[in-house]
């Protein structure tokens, strides 16, 4: 289709720009002018709420907002007049009037868009008085997120991400005018409503209004306790993102430095969630094979993403039978550490503390699910433990950002550390475990194992290109030695909803579906470093697939430590013991 071009003048120079562009896009793409924005989030939140992007257009009296206003033929735009600079400043000052000024102690002190903008625009003092008379209470109800409404500038990014990207609609603007706030239903707090803890709202918040519930103090405390055996596990997506926190190029594989840094923090063992990702593949792969062979419920839907699990429990309780009963890798890791490893090492399981480093905020919620105390139940009879002594399989969850904060606090020069390895045995993993961190990865990892088990042949090609890539939804038909297997992948819950509605109606053409809560999968998780690079997910994904390609073992069932845990402890995949320790149950939350 031929695109019509329009003639416009930007700051006195002539440009030809495509019809339909906004002033913001035209200025950036053709005139190399980055008009400041605050509330705008392309394609997701285009509300014109902040007024920071105003420009002068010849012949109009008001200053139009560049993010919303489309260019028109002959338009003459000035992006930097005195009137524009003054208006931008005033709009930011109005936002600052009600904003707390304790920037020093704010978690976003290093990367706050509001603060950056105020300094870029040369705001030196705020001339407007506060209009709010009281500080609003902080929402502390969620296990994953903390929301401080006083720092909120009502840009609505979070509201729109939650609605349009995740289709959860946990929050909206309540009240009016200067009394409006972002609120849940009845202002009950994020922990008491349908919020799935994904943290996508946090990733787009320009201020410190949304932060994870920090567990750093708890982790420091156990690290300082000589009676505890503190082990850490790191999720696959963390190693390809944590380097960003230390100024390393986007897409750096920082696996070795991360292991070294965590060891320097004082963890007794540095293990790897990739090991339990391999374990998940064994269990889930065999579950898939079992359901195919025995005419079980299909499609099988993956279960490693806790935001998705809460989403299904809340909005689609009818599909829970399709969802794999496998615990997530994080939870499998906690369980095997406190059972298998404890037994092997002769450690008292009560002394073991499992800390996981996750790209995810929902993992903080997941570890507190009441059913996630399997290791305790395993030991309860053997050690005659009382009910009050119950402990979680996973004790603490740090996001990638929190882990980086601890490393900085310890003064560790991350980028220059010599690489180190994970500890054994729970640090050994295959490439299949690594790709869990990217959308499509669980599917590919499961296919590598399922193919070989079903056909008893070795895979001619390990890379399933059809299930890779960052698109929100993908489907493919995989040829398993003559039998077609139809698979689909969704990342972002808005996309997941579409696939799951089909399943609910009994119209799904697929046998296996992978769902990841966050766009891009774990590498785009709500616990990952904040980034301004629009290609960041691509960079992280490339790093994950490089990491996989560089692994000597790339199939879960060939990981020698996995073979050993089955031989010495679990028996067969999906054995009774494996079921007891590594599988779980879900509940209908639709009435909550």
């Amino acid at each position: 289709m031929e695109m019509r071009t329009l003639h416009v003048k930007i700051n006195g120079r002539d440009y030809q720009v495509p019809d339909g562009s906004t002033i913001l896009e035209a200025a950036s793409a053709y005139a190399n002018i980055e008009i400041p924005t605050l509330c705008y989030l392309e394609g997701i939140s285009e509300e014109g709420a902040c007024g920071v992007c105003v420009v002068d257009v010849k012949g109009t009296r008001n200053l139009p907002r560049a993010c919303l206003t489309k260019v028109s033929e002959g338009m003459e735009i000035w992006t930097n007049t005195a009137r524009v600079r003054e208006a931008r400043k005033i709009n930011v000052e109005l936002l600052l009037a009600n904003h707390p000024t304790d920037c020093f102690t704010c978690e976003r002190t290093e990367n706050c868009d509001l603060r950056d903008l105020a300094s870029e625009l040369g705001v030196r003092e705020v001339e407007f008085p506060r209009t709010r008379t009281e500080w609003l209470p902080i929402d502390n109800t969620s296990l994953s997120l903390v929301r401080d409404p006083n720092k909120c500038i009502l840009c609505r990014r979070c509201v729109n991400v939650c609605a349009k990207v995740q289709s959860v609609y946990a929050i909206d603007i309540a009240g009016r005018g200067s009394n409006s706030t972002v609120s849940t239903f009845l202002n009950e707090g994020l922990g008491n409503v349908e919020c799935v803890n994904c943290g996508q709202c946090l990733l787009v918040c320009p201020t410190g209004a949304l932060t994870e519930r920090s567990e750093i103090p708890d982790v420091w405390k156990v690290l300082g306790d000589p009676d505890k055996i503190v082990v850490v596990e790191t999720a696959p997506a963390v190693r390809v993102a944590i380097g960003e926190e230390f100024g390393m190029p986007d897409g750096t594989q920082a696996t070795g430095k991360m292991a070294a840094a965590l060891r320097s923090l004082g963890f007794n063992k540095v293990f790897d969630t990739d090991f339990s990702a391999d374990l998940t593949i064994m269990e889930e792969g065999f579950e898939l094979i079992g359901r195919i062979k025995n005419g079980g419920t299909l499609p099988l839907i993956t279960s490693c993403s806790p935001g998705w699990i809460k989403f299904a429990e809340t909005f689609f309780p009818g599909v829970l039978d399709y969802v794999s009963s496998c615990k997530s890798p994080q939870q499998m890791f906690g369980t095997v550490t406190k059972t298998y490893w404890a037994e092997k090492m002769g450690f008292d399981p009560r002394k073991i503390v499992v800390v996981s480093v996750m790209p995810c905020t929902a993992k903080k919620f997941e570890k507190e699910r009441p059913e996630m105390k399997t290791a305790f139940h395993y030991w309860q009879e053997k050690m005659s433990l009382k009910d009050e002594e119950a402990f979680n399989d996973v004790d603490f969850v740090l996001t990638t950002r929190e882990a980086a904060r601890m490393i900085r606090e310890a003064g560790i020069d991350f980028a220059n550390l010599p690489d180190e390895d994970f500890d054994k045995p729970l640090g050994e993993s295959s490439g299949a475990g690594v790709i869990f961190g990217a959308t499509g990865g669980v599917m590919e990892a499961a296919l590598r194992t399922a193919y070989e088990v079903l056909t008893r042949k070795s895979l001619p090609r390990l890379d399933f290109e059809d299930v890779r890539g960052l698109e929100g939804m993908k489907s493919a038909t995989i040829d398993i030695d003559g039998t077609p297997l139809r698979v689909a992948i969704a990342n972002g819950l808005g996309n997941a909803r579409i696939l799951i509605e089909e399943v609910q109606k009994g119209e799904s053409p697929y046998q296996f579906i992978e769902i990841m809560t966050c766009p891009g999968g774990c590498l785009g998780g709500g616990g990952q470093p904040l980034s301004n690079n629009p290609d960041i997910k691509k960079r992280r994904a490339e790093a994950i697939y490089r990491e996989d390609a560089g692994k000597p073992i790339r199939k879960s069932h060939e990981n020698p430590e996995i073979q050993e845990i089955y031989k010495d402890f679990l028996g067969e995949p999906n054995s009774e013991k494996a079921h007891h320790l590594l599988h779980t149950t879900y509940h209908d939350r639709s009435g909550e």
Partner: protein
């Protein structure tokens, strides 16, 4: 929540009737543009105010997220989430009334009833509202009770006045 409501409807024929009325209206309006606001209006007429369970109920029936329902209800002044008393007292705090001391009238009312603007006294007798100008500035300070307008109000007079509304 849903199950709970079902049970209560069984035991409470008045509530049942109210919900039936609301249902009938929703069936008529569902799918139309702006039906949320219309439905909330009707619900307020039926129930006298908008109880939380009605918000949740409308959300499910109209398939509108409950955070959106809450947003709409808190945005418009004419929606009330607390039951209205038998009498509504509106104290005018418009400029003309304010300069003639309507704030001391307001303070007196809040003290003697123990409620703030937007609230209803525990005995269900009064709801207190603040208004900005009722167009009777010549009579400032003005208090409106139900449909009656009273001018030249003082803290002492207002207390005697209130007692007339049982």
């Amino acid at each position: 929540m849903q199950i709970n409501l079902e049970e209560r409807l069984k035991e409470n024929p008045v509530l049942r009737k109210q919900f039936d009325e609301l249902d009938a209206y929703i069936d008529e309006k569902a799918g139309q543009q702006g039906s949320l606001i219309n439905v909330m209006h009707r619900a307020q007429e039926i129930f006298g105010y908008l109880p939380d369970e009605v918000l949740a109920y409308v959300s499910t029936r109209l398939q509108v997220p409950r955070s959106t329902v809450y947003g709409v209800v808190t945005f418009y002044h004419f929606f009330s989430r607390t039951p209205k008393g038998r009498h509504t007292i509106s104290v005018c705090l418009g400029t003309a009334c304010y300069v003639r001391g309507s704030n001391s009238v307001y303070d007196k009312v809040t003290k003697s009833l123990g409620i703030k603007a937007g609230e209803t006294s525990p005995d269900g007798r009064y709801t207190l509202d603040l208004v900005r100008c009722v167009g009777a500035c010549g009579l400032a300070p003005v208090v409106v009770i139900d449909k009656d307008t009273y001018g030249r109000m003082t803290p002492d007079k207002v207390v005697t006045l209130l007692n007339k509304y049982v």
